[in-house]
């Protein structure tokens, strides 16, 4: 007679797997990638490919030669990191080699140094991105002008991003700000995966449908940023005036809430990076705290910080308190 298998219950599984989750996240990033290629041309595709290949390669090398464990590159998590890292850089020719360094830091320091997938406290793509921002400040903040790129052109004319304009505080900035619709569909300057809110929301909707993310982090993140900037804007709306401290004519006051949430990396950050399962809280209550924290920090950094954009720092800061949030926010016990 055949020998029977023995195991504890349950004897069936939902068939959900890490691999399936990660590949679905990759699927969800495709609309943003297509928009990026449409606006920034072939260079967006090349940078993405370089970033993904480097991330996968570094993970393979670390697993094979340093950790000496079976390779997990097929689970798709390195591909997610690669895509997100690429989405966070400008589509310029310099990025084609800089992004390799970003990939090394993201995978090597951000992920494998802690033991690989599931053990990293910080979102690896953001670790790579912030490293690049600090190490290559000029290249990382030189964005191609979307209205002047040609599809196959690799040498592009550079132009400002909405947030850069506002940080510059030039009196002419207000006239140069794009329309809200352009910002929504992504026809603006910026890191190439971040520009189109529409494409990102499409991907996020897919992830919600597949139950990979829930609304809690994205909605509270974006909502908090909206409400907080709305309060500031109502108190002192953005206008051109004379600064009493130095007598110069410049931009004063606070930017309107719609521009706040449609510019920079808020959409990509809220939907794809703050929702990273590994580095965000598990309980719904914790996720709400996390989202609110990200939203507040983003607006604070944008408004009073040295950098025009604060999403990466905001998420990384909140990543660092995730273990604490997990400790405080327990699921509701039955009958307690």
């Amino acid at each position: 007679m055949n020998l029977l298998n023995i195991s504890g219950s349950p004897h069936v599984h939902s068939d959900e797997s890490t691999k399936r989750i990660m590949w679905r996240v990759n699927m969800a990033l495709i609309p943003a990638l297509l928009v990026a290629i449409a606006y920034f041309g072939i260079s967006a595709l090349i940078i993405s490919a370089i970033s993904v290949l480097s991330c996968v390669l570094f993970q393979w090398l670390v697993e094979k030669y340093i950790l000496k464990v079976p390779s997990t590159i097929c689970d798709g998590s390195a591909v997610v990191t690669g895509l997100l890292l690429a989405f966070n850089v400008p589509a310029t020719i310099d990025m084609m080699w800089i992004v390799v360094i970003g990939a090394l830091v993201a995978i090597g320091v951000g992920k494998m140094a802690f033991g690989g997938l599931g053990k990293n406290p910080f979102n690896p793509a953001l670790v790579g991105r912030v490293f690049l921002l600090i190490s290559f400040p000029v290249q990382m903040t030189t964005w191609p002008d979307v209205s002047k790129v040609s599809f196959f052109g690799l040498d592009t004319v550079t132009g400002p991003t909405p947030l850069g304009l506002l940080k510059g505080r030039g009196a002419e900035a207000l006239d140069q700000l794009p329309q809200a619709w352009d910002m929504f569909i992504g026809h603006i300057g910026g890191s190439f995966g971040e520009v189109s809110a529409l494409a990102i929301l499409l991907g996020a909707a897919y992830l919600c449908w597949k139950k990979i993310i829930t609304w809690h982090i994205p909605v509270t993140f974006i909502g908090t940023a909206f409400v907080f900037s709305a309060i500031l804007w109502l108190v002192n709306p953005v206008h051109v005036g004379v600064d009493p401290t130095d007598g110069m004519t410049k931009l004063l006051g606070f930017i309107d809430p719609l521009t706040t949430i449609l510019t920079g990396g808020i959409m990509l950050g809220a939907c794809f990076m703050a929702t990273d399962m590994v580095t965000s809280p598990m309980a719904k209550s914790g996720q709400i705290i996390f989202g609110v924290g990200c939203g507040l920090l983003t607006v604070i950094i944008r408004t009073w910080g040295a950098y025009p954009e604060g999403v990466s720092f905001a998420i990384l800061l909140m990543n660092s308190v995730t273990p604490l949030i997990n400790r405080c926010c327990k699921p509701k016990r039955f009958a307690c």
Binding site: I6, S9, P10, H13, S14, T18, K119, M282, K332, F334
Partner: protein, 437 residues
């Protein structure tokens, strides 16, 4: 709160209950219930009849065991049960099928019950009735409400939320009247105004049947339940029907509830009205790769091999596991030569592919286990606490509240055997608590 939706696979739904022939050799375990084994009251060479007492409940937590067959006692010695553990047992060589004269074997349905509550409970004890939902808790203990406690609700569990199982469904379809009489008797024993029969709403025919029948009885309410595993778990069922929640470490009676399985209600009818002790199980024989699907009335003590031989001939070559119970909480059978016992509800044959566990990968802290847990626990945390032998902390985080429903492992994308680890942790916590005493 929590819960999952496993594939229902109720493929034996339409198979009417058949009678399984009596085997030629019978082994009756003395430990078929929660608690101490019954004490054998027969010896080698004794003649026994169907329904004769052969094991007597002498300890408090114990239940009588009756002979399911007639014949001669061959020996009284331990026998390995389905999970490989030796249990005291009575071996009987079957001769004919001679029943005790006291048992009413006519097909007539008897509605009137003139017994007083105390007499009902005594008769439950005499007839060896235990809970047939899986825990096999002796019924006479459950229905003897301790002083200071008061029952307000009787809840009959007919959720049958486990995949594959259809025995309760078949009983409802074929014996609705008997079930309602059984429920009325239990209601009388407790002295509660209403009994609620909870049925998952994916069984509309059974709901309609029971609703129609229950109209003829006083104080029986059929309660359709949301389809969600583990809807039939005791605490979840009480919550769904009454809105009350049994606190950690407490029993249903602490919130005024008594829960019995639908199969138990049927057994109660037969015991009280027909004087028939608990000697038969209603059991589903099912599996995706089996040539046919069945529901049987089986004499308790028929071996798994006898059941398989009679129903499908032999196990398919690709069989991976044989499970007693459903896929979520059933136990994998080790020994097919073992006899069935009270409370067995199925012989579920799983294919190799179905029975295989996927390789374990790293935890990605997705929290799916936590959201699936119907008790609001944190399975991922127990996993690491137990591995690191931090038993005290596991206890503080209510590991003992775990009902082992399997939702955590079921939903884990990393295929971590969370339920196994928690089971181990619970044992360690209990050992620690016992050592402290």
């Amino acid at each position: 709160m929590g819960g999952v939706h496993p594939e229902e696979n109720k493929i034996s739904n339409d198979a009417a209950i058949e009678v399984m022939p009596v085997p030629s050799q019978m082994v009756v375990l003395m430990n078929q219930h929660l608690g101490a084994p019954a004490t054998p009251v027969v010896q080698k060479g004794d003649k026994v009849k169907v329904g004769q007492l052969i094991g007597e409940a002498q300890a408090f937590m114990c239940a009588n065991v009756h002979s399911p067959v007639s014949g001669t006692v061959a020996k009284v010695e331990p026998c390995k049960d389905a999970f490989g553990l030796a249990k005291p047992a009575v071996y009987i060589n079957v001769e004919g099928d001679e029943w005790m004269e006291t048992i009413d074997r006519t097909p007539d349905i008897k509605r009137e019950c003139t017994l007083e509550p105390k007499q009902i409970v005594d008769k439950l004890k005499e007839m060896g009735i235990v809970g047939l939902g899986g825990a096999t808790f002796p019924a006479h203990i459950k229905y003897a409400i301790p002083d200071g406690k008061k029952a307000e609700y009787l809840i009959i569990n007919a959720a049958e939320c486990e995949p594959y199982l259809t025995s309760d469904y078949r009983v409802m379809m074929e014996h609705a009247e008997e079930v309602c009489i059984g429920v009325s008797i239990l209601r009388k024993a407790l002295g509660v105004p209403n009994a609620y029969i909870g049925i998952e709403s994916n069984k509309p025919l059974a709901i309609a049947k029971m609703q129609e029948m229950s109209r003829q009885f006083e104080g029986i309410i059929v309660e359709p339940l949301k389809v969600k595993y583990p809807q039939g778990a005791e605490k979840q069922l009480i919550n769904a029907v009454t809105g009350r929640k049994v606190p950690s470490g407490k029993l249903p009676i602490d919130v005024g509830c008594v829960v019995s399985n639908l199969g138990t209600a049927f057994a109660v009818y037969e015991a009280i009205q027909k004087n028939k002790p608990l000697i038969e199980n209603i059991l589903t024989v099912t599996g995706k790769k089996l040539p046919s699907q069945h529901n049987y009335v089986v004499r308790i003590g028929t071996t798994y091999n006898d059941i398989i031989k009679h129903s499908i001939g032999e196990l398919p070559a690709t069989t991976g596991k044989v499970i007693s119970g459903g896929t979520m909480m059933g136990k994998a059978v080790v020994n097919l030569d073992a006899p069935t016992v009270k409370g067995n509800s199925s012989v579920l044959v799983m294919d190799e592919g179905e029975a295989r566990r996927n390789p374990e990968t790293a935890c990605i802290r997705c929290g799916k286990c936590m959201h699936a847990c119907p008790m609001g626990l944190e399975p991922y945390m127990f996993s690491s606490l137990v591995k690191n032998n931090r038993i005290e902390e596991a206890k503080e985080h209510n590991i003992l509240d775990c009902i082992e429903c399997g939702c955590c492992f079921f939903s884990c994308p990393a295929n971590k055997p969370l339920t196994d680890e928690i089971r181990l942790g619970k044992n360690k916590v209990r050992a620690m608590m016992a050592a402290k005493k």
